[in-house]
Symmetry: C2
DNA sequence: GCACCAGTACTACCATACAAGTACGCTAGT
DNA sequence: ACTAGCGTACTTGTATGGTAGTACTGGTGC
C-alpha cells in the first residue's frame, strides 16, 4: 500500500532490475561517480539491454543516475546542493505531516509507533545497523501513513535516497544508534502528549543530524562528492 | 537552471516526445482515462516505438501515466486522493519556502515579483487565460527560486501537474483571474511587509482555491475522475 | 434470452541489430 | 620530449521482430 504508481499486478523483469539497481546504489555497492554500462549490467543480471536501459532512465528521473548520450551513464555523486534540497523537502513534508498527526492520533496508533521503537531497542543492543535503518525508515513512513499522507512518502523516499547514501557510508560510531533511538523516543513522547510545537522541533533537529554524518563521510571519502562541475570520466568504473 | 537532472547537452528524440506528451496530457488533448498505445503514438510522432515507450515509462514515474503490462497504457484519471496528496505536498513546500523568503528578501527581488503581477494585470484585462497561468507558474516558481529552493520546484511541478489538469478544464469564470491576481497581490504585499504568518495564511488559502475548480470540473466531466478502483477499458480511446 | 467458451486481435515486454556519436590511445610529425 | 591528428573501441540512441499475456467478440449450448 501507499504506492499509487503500482498500477500493475504482474512483476516484470524491469521491476526486478530497478529494485536491484536502487539497492546497489543506496548501499554503495556501486560507488557514486562510477560508470554503469548498459551492456555490463545486462550481462550481470542476465537480461537484455532493454529493461536495464529503461530502469536507468527511470532512476535518472529520481536523480540517482546521470545519463550522458553517447558518452556514458554514471551514478550521481553526492551533491551538497542536492543534499540540502532533499533535506528541505523531507523536513517540510515530514513536519507538516507531524503537525496534522498530533491532532488526530489515538492510543492504538501510538502503540504501533512504540512497537517500532522497542524493536529498534533490540537492534541497538545487537548493533544490527541494517536492521536499525530498516526500522528507521519504517518509523518515519508510518508517521506519514498515519497522518494520511502515505503517497507523499514516495517523494520523501526519493529525497531520502540522496541523504541515505551518505549516512550508510559513515562509520557507525558506537553510540550513534543509541542517540538516534533517543531522538525517536522524544518525538513519539511529545507526539503522544499533544505538544505540537515541541514535537516538530524534535523532529526537525533529528532530521538535521544527517548533516553531521555527511560531513564525516566527506572528510574520509571526498571522491563521492561532486566538488566541481566536471563530469566523471568514462573509465571511472575501473576499481 | 533549476533542473539538476538536465545532465546532457544534446537533444534526443525522446526529449521531444516527453515534452510533447506532457503537454498533451496537461492541456487535456489526451483525456484522462483514455488509452495511449505505443504504436499509435509512434506513428503520429514519426519515431519508432522505443523513444515513445521510454517516455511513457518516465511519465509513469511522475504519475501521469499508468502502465498495465500486456494490457495497455492509460492517461491517469484525476484521483481525488492523489489531488489531495499533491495539494499537501505543494502547500508544505511552498509555505516552507515562503517563510524562509520573508527573512531574506530584498527590494530588488520584490520588484521582480511585482513585475510579474503587472504582467498578470495585462493578461487579466485581455482575458488571456493561457498567458495568465503561464505567469502564475512563473510567480510561484520565482518565489521558490528566491528562497533558494529552485530544485524543489521539480517536485512541486510534478504535484502541480495533477492539479493543473483539473484547473485547465474548468470554465474560466469572468472574475476568476481577477480574484487570483488579487490573492497574488496580497501575498506579495505581506511578503514585502515582513508579516510571515499572514503571508503564509494568504498563500495557503490561495493554493486551496484549486479545490473549488476541481469540484466544478467533477460536476461537469465526471468521466475524468477515478471514482472506483476499476481500471480503464482497452477501447476507451475511441472518442 | 442468457451464460459460457473458444478464437482472434490487440497490448506491452523483451531481445537484438544497426546507427550516431564520443573518448581514449596510438602514431607520426615537429 | 611533446603535440596534433586520426583510428579504434566504447558508449547510448533508435528501429524492428518475435513472444507472452490479456481483453474483446462471436458463436454455441442451454
Amino acid at each position: 500500500m501507499g504506492d499509487r504508481s503500482k498500477a500493475r499486478t504482474t512483476t516484470t523483469s524491469r521491476d526486478v532490475v530497478i529494485a536491484e539497481l536502487r539497492q546497489r546504489i543506496l548501499d554503495l555497492s556501486i560507488k557514486p561517480g562510477s560508470s554503469v554500462s548498459e551492456n555490463e549490467l545486462a550481462n550481470q543480471l542476465g537480461v537484455s539491454r532493454t529493461p536495464v536501459r529503461e530502469s536507468l532512465i527511470l532512476l535518472a528521473g529520481e536523480g540517482l543516475i546521470e545519463i550522458y548520450p553517447q558518452v556514458g551513464t554514471f551514478v550521481s555523486r553526492i551533491d551538497p546542493a542536492a543534499v540540502a534540497d532533499a533535506q528541505f523537502i523531507r523536513e517540510a513534508l515530514e513536519t507538516a505531516s507531524l503537525r496534522e498527526l498530533v491532532a488526530t492520533i489515538d492510543d492504538g496508533q501510538i502503540g504501533t509507533l512504540r512497537d517500532i521503537l522497542d524493536q529498534q531497542q533490540l537492534a541497538v543492543r545487537s548493533q544490527d545497523v541494517d536492521r536499525f535503518f530498516e526500522l528507521d525508515e519504517q518509523l518515519h513512513r508510518t508517521m506519514m501513513d498515519l497522518a494520511g499522507h502515505d503517497s507523499a512518502w514516495t517523494v520523501v523516499r526519493s529525497a531520502r535516497a540522496h541523504l541515505e547514501r551518505a549516512r550508510r557510508a559513515s562509520l557507525p560510531v558506537a553510540d550513534t544508534l543509541g542517540r538516534m533511538l533517543q531522538q525517536h523516543t522524544t518525538i513519539v513522547d511529545r507526539l503522544s502528549s499533544g505538544s505540537t510545537d515541541e514535537a516538530e522541533k524534535a523532529l526537525r533537529s533529528h532530521l538535521r543530524e544527517v548533516f553531521h554524518d555527511i560531513n564525516e563521510v566527506k572528510a574520509q571519502s571526498p571522491e563521492y562528492f561532486a566538488n566541481g562541475r566536471s563530469r566523471p570520466t568514462r573509465r571511472a568504473h575501473l576499481s
